[in-house]
């Protein structure tokens, strides 16, 4: 039973395309997050949602738009993809500050 799942695991696309990454958690948590891990392994938060409400919005280009249809899902839409968007994107969820549970990651490659 996967706690936090992401699809797809790999995503290869051309510059300028629009793509989405989906995330689902079955833990009943209220808060979900998106993180970006760059080629140097640096992890940085992008967004967080609490019960479908945007809580954290770091300095992320507005080509990135999170969407939370319900508290179990947080999807990431990326418009007009650029080479610099290539990274691994992690979804996570938590109920409180105790622990964030991470998904397996989506490796995005922009050609």
């Amino acid at each position: 039973d996967t706690a936090v799942s992401q699809t797809p695991k790999y995503l290869v696309t051309q510059m300028g395309n629009d793509k989405s990454i989906k995330c689902e958690q079955n833990l009943g948590h209220d808060t979900m997050y998106w993180y970006k891990q760059d080629s140097k392994k640096f992890l940085k938060i992008m967004f967080s949602y609490n019960n479908k409400e945007l809580i954290i919005n770091e300095t992320v280009p507005n080509r990135f738009s999170p969407k939370s249809p319900d508290k179990a899902h947080l999807n990431l839409h990326i418009n007009s993809l650029e080479l610099g968007d290539s990274a691994v994107y992690f979804c996570a969820s938590s109920q409180d500050r105790a622990q964030q549970f991470f998904g397996p990651g989506t490796r995005l490659t922009v050609l």
């Binding site: 936090v4 808060t31 997050y33 140097k40 392994k41 640096f42 992890l43 940085k44 938060i45 967080s48 809580i55 954290i56 992690f90 996570a92 938590s94 409180d96 500050r97 105790a98 622990q99 964030q100 549970f101 991470f102 998904g103 397996p104 990651g105």
Partner: protein
């Protein structure tokens, strides 16, 4: 704003030897601290966490960490490493207000036979 420093980018240890990974944090109040491990091609798994109380915390896979307020440190230790411990290790601190988790830059651990 909180921050985390992991001074060692890469550490190589012989199998069976002891390990210590360093982590220093900056946070205005009592921090909530975490160590996560990322195996190649995998997501992040929580090794252990510190919130309050006993400053020596035990985690999974035989890891432990010690919180030292005076040194703003939360170093990770293991008495005897196994080849399967080869991975990237991340220290992190959470902000109470918005639950924002800030990671250090990570330490890559290589195990040699």
């Amino acid at each position: 704003a909180q921050s985390v420093t992991q001074p060692d980018i890469h550490i190589t240890v012989s199998e069976g030897a002891s390990l210590e990974l360093r982590c220093n944090y900056s946070y205005g109040a009592t921090p909530y601290l975490f160590w996560y491990v990322q195996s190649p091609g995998q997501g992040l798994q929580l090794l252990l966490k510190y919130f309050s109380g006993d400053t020596l915390v035990q985690g999974i896979k035989g890891f432990e960490a010690e919180f030292k307020r005076s040194q703003s440190s939360f170093n990770l230790r293991k008495p005897s490493v196994h080849w399967s411990d080869a991975a990237e290790y991340f220290c992190a601190v959470v902000d109470f207000g918005n639950e924002k988790l800030t990671f250090g830059t990570g330490t890559r651990l290589t195990i040699i036979p």
